[in-house]
């Protein structure tokens, strides 16, 4: 499953149960984020034991995108059976500031920095 935009790419690698978000995500609200939300929800519906959210090449994320990822983490938490790891990059400044908020929504969420 993949969504490809002018300057972003989001896909789910089912084999490794990993969702990749890359590029710059600054779409306009719920409607434009819908195809990406579909991928995130598909990943949850598979009820894997673990999910990895790889943001290491996500250069920019607007607040609507932050909302999408926050809701995703809450939905993972609500399943109660899925372990989630979020991978970020120390060289992308917004990630150091904002990714930690996801952990506040789900304290069991594991953060990995590269």
């Amino acid at each position: 499953m993949e969504v490809l935009g002018d300057d972003y790419k989001v896909w789910y690698d089912q084999l490794n149960q990993c969702i990749y978000c890359q590029g710059s995500l600054r779409l306009a609200g719920t409607e434009e984020y819908a195809p990406i939300v579909k991928i995130l929800e598909y990943a949850i519906e598979q009820l894997p034991q673990k999910i990895t959210l790889n943001l290491c090449q996500l250069e920019f994320l607007n607040s609507s995108g932050i909302n999408v990822l926050s809701k995703f983490v809450i939905k993972v938490r609500q399943k109660e059976t899925i372990n989630i790891t979020v991978q970020g990059s120390e060289t992308i400044p917004w990630q150091g500031k904002s990714i930690k908020n996801l952990q506040r929504l789900m304290p069991a969420l594991k953060l990995e920095w590269s």
Binding site: S24, S63, N67, N101
Partner: protein
């Protein structure tokens, strides 16, 4: 009479280095105009980064941090202005960035839909007086429970929590509409 929420400073611009971008009212659909937000925000980030010279690793990391913060804040301000301005009024959207030694100041100015003002002001009252951490958690949990909710409302909260900004808003009545000026003060540590 003007109505102010949060912290709003008047008459400061003569003491700063600044840049102003103006966006003319346009009949283009919002989807087409939306792309210019990212371009403008990144441009402002690159522009401001230039004022933080140096090629040590500490300087480069500072430059990257300033660029990223400016780009995020400018993008959020432009997205808000574009989403909530009243297209029928034909008023341009303005975005200014002022540089001071200890902070950056952003000012965005746009018209507002009459229908949106009451809810917007109630929200501003909440985020300028309440506990931001609690508001953030409540907002996201509420948004997760109600999938078709409109705006995320996370732009200002993210700026306050993650970028330590001080926010202020001024509402003014003009001849034919209400205009809001949003002020964002970003401290430079």
């Amino acid at each position: 009479m003007a109505q102010v929420f949060g912290e709003f400073i008047e008459d400061f611009s003569d003491r700063s280095e600044f840049l102003v971008l103006g966006f003319s009212p346009s009949s283009l659909p919002i989807q087409t105009r939306w792309k210019t937000n990212g371009l403008s925000a990144d441009f402002l980030g690159d522009y401001v980064r230039n004022f933080f010279p140096g090629d040590t690793s500490a300087a480069q990391s500072k430059q990257a941090e300033v660029r990223s913060a400016v780009s995020f804040i400018a993008n959020e301000l432009l997205e808000n202005a574009m989403k909530y301005s009243d297209k029928n009024v034909g008023q341009p959207i303005n975005l200014e960035v002022h540089l001071f030694s200890n902070r950056l100041m952003f000012l965005s100015k746009n018209s507002l839909h009459h229908d949106a003002i009451a809810d917007f002001q109630t929200y501003l009252q909440e985020i300028t007086t309440g506990n931001i951490d609690d508001i953030y958690i409540n907002q996201v949990e509420k948004s997760a429970a109600n999938d078709d909710a409109g705006g995320s409302g996370l732009g200002y909260l993210t700026m306050i929590m993650d970028y330590k900004v001080i926010l202020g808003w001024k509402f003014e009545k003009t001849d034919n509409n209400i205009q809001v000026t949003t002020m964002v003060q970003l401290p430079l540590s």
